[in-house]
Each structure stands twice: as C-alpha cells, then as structure tokens.
Assembly symmetry: C2
Homo-oligomer: 285 residues x 2
C-alpha cells in the first residue's frame, strides 16, 4: 500500500456519508485538498465552517475539474445525471466511486458513459444507518466496517487496486462482489428490511397511532431504520425493484406460512421456524 | 405509598425477568425473604449462589405457601397449570401477579380459579428483550420502563393499589389497560414485530445463509429480537393467535401495497408511504 495520496478530492453531496468520508480521508492524511458540492449552499457553508471540506462551488464541473478522486455521496437516483455533467471535465486517471447502496445495472450504465482514461468503480460502505447531515460526520465511520467494491470485467486493475487500498486505509474490510449479486444480497439484508420496518410502523398507524407509545425496546430496534430518509429509500427501491418484488413475495409467503401454522394450532412447527431463525441470527451477534 | 413491604415473596421461574424482579425488589428494600422455583435445579442453585433468591425448593407448593406476593415469570404457556398447582396453598390476601406478555382471556381464566381471598392481577413490564438467564439479572431493568397492569371488573381495589405501588417503587411508569386491549396493542407493537424479525432472518436462510455476513447495523437492529427464546414466543403466539392472524393479514396487505407501487413505478406514492412511517417512528426517538 505505497504512496496512496490524492492531491485533490471532490465529494459530491455533503450529507452524513459524504462528510464522514471527507473527515476520514483527511484524518488518515490521504489527501491535500477536499472540494465539496451540494445542491444546497447552506450544507456547503456548514461543511466548510466545520473544516470538513476546504472549499466549494455551486458549479459541479468546477468542483470536479482536476481532481484525482471523485466520490458520489448523493442519493443514488441522481448518479447518472451527475456523471453526465462531470465526465467532460474529469482529468485523465481520475478515479470516480460512490458510497451508494445500489450497484447492478447502474454500474454498467455509468461505465458506458465514462471517457477512456477516467475510471469508475462502485463502492458500498456498510455504514451509516438512519443518521443524516454533516453535523453527524464521523471520521471513524468506516473503520472496521465492511465495504463492498463492485468491479466489472471492464474495470481498470490499477484503479481497483487504488480504490481497495483507499478503503482499507480507512479501516474497512473490503469484499469484491459482482454488481448484480450486490443488489440481490442487499435487497435481502438491507433494502427489504427497510421496507418491512416502514410497513410495521404504518401498520400501527393503520390501527391506532396512539398505540406507538406502548412500544418497548424490541419495537424501537426493529423499526429504527424506518427513520431513514424517505427520498433515499425511494431511489434505492426504484433501482432495485426487481429484487425487492421477488423478496417481498417470499417474505409474504413466510408470513403466510406462520399464519397457517397459527390457524392449524401447529405450534411445534411454529417454534421450529423461530428456532431456525434464532440459530442463523445468533451468528451475527 | 405507605408501608409497601412483603415479608415473603415467591418468584416462579428464575430466568432473566424473574431474577431481575427479585434483585430489584431486594435492592429497593421491599421484601424480607425471596423464594425461587424453577423446573431446573441448576438455575435455582445459580440464583441462590448469586444471592438473587434466599432459598428454593423443587416443590412449588412449598415455595408459595405463606408468601405475600407470588410472581409468575415462566413462559406464559404454563401459567394456568402453575396457578392450579399453587392456588390451594396461597394464603389469604396473597397477591399473585406475573411478568408475561399475554393477558386477554388468560387473565379471566386465572381469575376464575382463584380462591376468594387470593388476588390475581396481571402485570406486563415492558422490558427484557432477547436476554435470558439469571446471569443477566438487572436490578434497574424496570426503572423508567413502562409497566402495563391489566385489572378486570373483578379485581380487588386494594390489591390493585398495592401492585401499582410495587411497580412504581421499582421505578416503572404504570398504565392500566383492559386485558383484551393489552393483547391487541402488544400483538401490534411487539408480537408481530417478533414474528416479522424471525421471518426476515428465515428469508435470508431460504435464499443463502452465507449472505448473513454482509448484513450491517440496520439488519442487526431489525432482527435483534429474532434471538429471543423460541419457546417463549411459541407460547405468546399460541395465546395471541387471533390478533396475530389479523395483523399478519394487514402487514401482508401493506407489503402488497408497496409491491404494487414498485410494479407501477409509482415512487412518489412509495416515498409517501415511507414518509408517513418515518413521521410516526420519529415520535418514539
């Protein structure tokens, strides 16, 4: 891991993840200057005041010109639009990555519009949760966290090596994964659980909103991610809809199975379902 | 709250909740002697060694005879059987309560077999979670936690007053609730979320168990309660099956609604569903 250093880094989107990335690479001494872009000047001003970014502009092309590393940290729904705006100014050997929860076809779509000497490879740090805003920026957010990198058969090996070392330098445990497999896995272990958490809370409001105050820690934990920003999860849902539709179907089948066991008074089999789940969940402890 | 003191207390079941109750009342100086009962002599020996109980017997009648307060802290499925075993030895003015998650018809069934001068009123402290065993006993478990007490039209007012003061002395915020309403509310904010957590983990194992290692904090929180003891949740599910069947149906409807919005590419409405959920969940923060 020799010589990992970026003279100029551009962070597109200075919310919780983008800001945390900025403070993390600065803390590890991996860069000289960090530029920030956001649609909201107030966020940029705040990020600059807090020393998260060195400077900003409301012109995204100005921000990206001459950077060695560009990190997309906006909602995934606008990645392609951003890429199309900046691809003309990205310098040769610039590495572009992102911190979004969607890969799959999007990765290939971004690749297909890349200039020859600009290298896009997707990243998905498994960190963040329901927090938002530069105020919460955490330099250690990625330390000891998993980071999925999703190269394709077209990825530049040197860029992949630099990106892998970058995340490792932030303390992340890097796993390489095919972009489509990524979206299947994360539909299962993240996207569907988000939709389910939203649905569980909505069920309470369907019956009686006031009942929410009787909830204990179990409900709080189970539905914590229902506090996640709706616009982010709208984009993720839209871009992973095929996997989500498939897994919602299977989840409904699993719920129907439990419903059937309740109706038949087959509590031995119901307990076995619980036990199968408990056993796997214990592995994550 | 004058003069709240129990000379002899019997705790039936010395798991996490029963043991925590024992150490809590002792810490607050609310009792003289605590007797424990369990089907497992090893648990009793451990609880005695740790000073959680003063003494034990494998004869539940011996444990309950002469007690001023008897607390059932076993799985709810055996409450009625225990009540039938001990009702003959309970002394006059003895108060019997429990710490179980099911009330409803069970409360009336227990009431119906009570001797005239023995008073059963149900309690449900909203505390505990997936922990188990006397090793984890926490004297402050009930402090600042909600405790639902479920008196009926038959409940003795003085016994209700004593029981209310007991939980308040442990720091709990007491709410009185009709037993049937209790089971509806807790199907919604606790029992169904448990079944859903079990189902989400089982969905991962249906697809590929190995994917579990890619899960982040969101999945961990959402499915933490899938580590809860299966036998306890079997009993709870069995005794609250009507409410669970009703709410599983509505949860499936809510999931189908999201599925439909994904199929129609109606992401504006999907975001509105998320937003409605986020807004209610924020109230619990």
């Amino acid at each position: 891991m020799e010589n990992l250093f970026f003279k100029q880094v551009s962070v597109i989107g200075v919310g919780f993840l983008g800001s945390s990335f900025a403070v993390a690479i600065r803390k590890r001494g991996l860069c000289n200057t960090i530029y920030g872009f956001s649609r909201d000047p107030k966020n940029l001003e705040k990020a600059k005041l807090r020393g998260i970014i060195d400077n900003y502009s409301l012109d995204i092309r100005e921000i990206c010109e001459g950077s060695d590393l560009i990190v997309l940290a906006t909602p995934v729904g606008v990645f392609l639009q951003i890429i199309n705006e900046i691809k003309g100014v990205a310098k040769n050997n610039c590495i572009i990555t992102d911190v979004g929860s969607i890969k799959g076809r999007l990765v290939y779509e971004i690749e297909s519009v890349m200039p020859e000497k600009v290298f896009y490879i997707g990243s998905h740090p498994i960190a963040g949760g329901e927090k938002s805003g530069a105020d919460n920026a955490k330099a250690d957010l990625f330390n000891k966290a998993l980071c999925i990198i999703t190269p394709t058969e077209n990825s530049n090996p040197e860029a992949l090596s630099i990106l892998t070392n970058l995340w490792k330098s932030l303390g992340s445990k890097v796993e390489l994964m095919n972009p489509y497999k990524h979206d299947e896995v994360y539909a299962l272990v993240s996207h569907l659980p988000h939709l389910t958490a939203y649905a569980l809370v909505n069920l309470v409001s369907d019956i009686n909103e006031d009942f929410i105050r009787f909830a204990g820690q179990g409900f709080k934990d189970t539905t914590r991610i229902a506090m996640s920003p709706p616009e982010i999860w709208r984009d993720i849902s839209a871009l992973n809809k095929e996997n989500l539709i498939k897994f919602i179907g299977i989840l409904k089948d699993n719920l129907s199975k439990m419903e059937g066991l309740l109706i038949e008074n087959n509590f031995v089999s119901l307990e076995n379902e619980f036990r199968r789940s408990q056993r796997l969940r214990e592995k994550l402890k």
